[in-house]
Symmetry: C3
Subunit: 342 residues, 3 copies
């Protein structure tokens, strides 16, 4: 709770309705790890701005519907009360709600699909949280990605849903002459820096990116700083390696890197020089995993989503100090042992 | 033990041979979670009926061979005695034995392959049971699916095995005009209702489906009821969304849903209104995962098998009441920490 | 420590530089589970011989660079001191370093890529070791395979890296008439026996294979014996099933089988007749998983690497004596339960 939100926090304590709104707004904020209702509100403002500008209001409506449905589903499934109040059951639902109208068309069937997907994201979150608690690692936005990938793939089987916004299936190819190239002007770099942030919510809009960074600033200066650091490092890396610079300019190569940088640099580890180096390393691996998913998903037409962030952050949270791995020597109790030796 | 099987149960206590037969029959029954020898016997009757009707006796022979081989393999690998007696080491083997002759041709090589696959299903079951015991979740038919997918894929590399019954590799496509359509008559719906059940053992036969439901009734009225509920809900859903109604009519879209409904509604949770709603939710997600697997597997020619049931049921068994997920905050002990702070 | 390496072992105790070299050499040896510096040295000799003979010195240079980078990365990340000294943080890095120059071209970008990949293999090793310690199963060479697959897939997205040494994407096909066939002479079988060993380090050279077997002999007679047993069983099996005998002759179908045989037969279980049978079973499953990965990876142009060894060995290490799986009955504490019952 910060000074900025103190009056609202008091209102949320008194009224059940305000408390629900507070929970929902924190759910939006948790997409970038901020259980802060003002951050969440600004995220919604940025989404609306970008969706209206692109004439895709359904993305903004879907985001709100997904957020509310996921939160209500949690309420019905015996959630952990504290996690509910900090928004942990909502942040995957908002992403499902923004993604499905981006990649599919289909009228009523799409909205039924979206509600089902948002509710499913809560079940998946609860399932993954149980599994990953074993190693004290968070579920992150894996539930969103799993639901998104499943529902997009399933849509190919259903006539009521149009998959035409998805790329046609193809084998991965060295992009060679086919790669589109933009001029690397200062304007291009400026737009890329912020679109890497706006694309986290599937919005391709520089102003939205600026609003999102302000929303982070409200809650945590370190988060805003690491977001821009991740964005810059990812952009420089993929341009140096020769990625498709039109895709790069639309923020597609940086969105996961921004999330990895916030997560490793400012949320799960305390900021330090050592952590900064580790975070930059994590960002580079995020960029590689993004490229890998784009290739692996080419035959089945899936977008990478925030998957690269999830996988890279898991990999960089799991190593523990002076942790002894299983050695290369005899293991006891295997089924291959003779009966007598038991 | 029920009154119906009491005399047989006594025989099984006295004779080692009868005990082995009892173990094997329970193994067949456990495909739908019933450690009941009469259920298992009726499953075998239904399989034989359907296999003979379709002129594919090798599917029935394969099922019996797979069931026996998987059980014997377990006997040799220091099994848990109680789990052995309740049939837990046999139900994946019977499915491997029914599936391989359905999807491959190849004379002697096929039968060597089938024996190897059934034995492997026991090792995989023991491995997965160890891993998933961590979260008190059962292995389900994942071992069957893994072995089935591995052996079908491997068959592409071996001249002695014919893969021609498998679909040719292709990119997933919105089925559009290509979707075949059946007339949705009462007869169509009746056949679909029961073929969703018969396809669990890879049999496309309405009478077999009726025999299977009777086999469930013998052991548990709830199981039979939930089986038909799952079948009906899945069929209504995929027809509403516009799936290929010829495939739907052959039971391909409902087999996993039937298993999910039995598992969630009558086995792992106690039946109640709340559980019924949760189960219907689980069935919808099963249907989505089925559609997703069909698309994802299109380039590599794999059938979905009972994979959608396994993945959906895992997702719906893992959420626990008031379970606190890992929070979005500092985690201790990471390798990125400085040495001094250790 | 053996008599052969005793003088060197004493030098390594006295000098930090010698200790580092010792650590690095043991890292090479751990690819086949031998924390023995002489084994590691002979592996490097074999790699150099084969790389020079094939006019691909970059593979040998890459191996050494990858080995050193992975080890140094571990030093910076608070490793378990004992595991560091036995070489556990190096053996994935040496494989990354040998693999990337085999499958990619690209000058400076390739070497940046290789250093990043080797460093990442250490993070992945630490992450996987943490996860798999839960079941007392080692990480094996999974980190190498994951990094190799990710970086090869990502390379399709980057103009600075040439992926032309990778096969073009295609759907898996029954190899039929297209399968190339070699004459199965005694010479062919002899070369295959040892190339199955040399290919572990991505070298297609009979002399290198002989050097590798000698390197194993120095550390463990059982390891050398099981390596050749695994190689022979795998070769006989795939030739009987009708695999492409040119690929078989190049050692591609046997490399994972050699590793599985060493691991199951001589490292993680104590050698016995019972363990020998279990190991042969494991080798057969390794061969099947290899065939499966070749098919599954056909559309995305990936090599199987040592993945089949990793997956098969995990499956054959996880089954435990008299381990009780989760039963098919009511599970307590699910989110679907009513609130009152909590």
């Amino acid at each position: 709770m910060s000074a900025l939100t103190a009056p609202w926090d008091r209102a949320a304590e008194r009224s059940a309705a305000a408390r629900f709104v507070d929970t929902v707004l924190k759910g939006a904020g948790q997409v970038m790890f901020q259980g802060n209702p003002l951050t969440g509100l600004l995220f919604l403002v940025g989404i609306c701005w970008g969706a209206v500008a692109a004439d895709t209001a359904s993305v903004a409506v879907g985001a709100v519907v997904g957020l509310v449905v996921a939160t209500v589903t949690a309420l019905l499934l015996n959630p952990d009360p504290e996690s509910l109040r900090s928004g942990l059951y909502g942040f995957n639902g908002i992403l499902v709600g923004a993604a499905l109208p981006t990649f599919l068309a289909g009228g009523a069937a799409l909205w039924v699909y979206l509600v089902l997907g948002a509710a499913t994201s809560t079940v998946v979150f609860m399932a993954v949280a149980n599994v990953f608690q074993t190693w004290q690692v968070p579920a992150l936005t894996f539930p969103f990605n799993l639901v998104n990938w499943l529902l997009l793939l399933a849509a190919f089987q259903f006539l009521r849903l149009e998959t035409s916004p998805l790329a046609a299936g193809q084998f991965p190819q060295n992009i060679g002459a086919a790669a589109a190239h933009a001029d690397l002007t200062a304007g291009y770099l400026w737009h890329t820096l912020f679109r890497n942030v706006s694309q986290i919510f599937l919005i391709d809009n520089t102003v939205t990116g600026v609003i999102f960074v302000l929303a982070l600033l409200v809650a945590s200066r370190w988060a805003a700083l690491f977001a821009l650091t991740g964005s810059a490092v990812a952009t420089a890396t993929v341009l140096a390696l020769g990625a498709n610079s039109v895709d790069v300019g639309n923020g597609l190569y940086g969105l996961s890197a921004v999330l990895t940088a916030i997560a490793l640099g400012s949320v799960f580890y305390d900021p330090s020089w050592r952590v900064l180096v580790y975070t930059v390393f994590g960002v580079l691996v995020t960029v590689m995993i993004h490229g890998a998913l784009v290739s692996a998903f080419a035959p089945i037409s899936l977008p990478a989503g925030t998957g690269p962030f999830v996988f890279a952050t898991w990999l960089f949270l799991l190593p523990k100090k002076q942790f002894a791995p299983v050695q290369h020597g005899t293991l006891a109790g295997g089924s291959a042992e003779s009966r007598a030796s038991g």
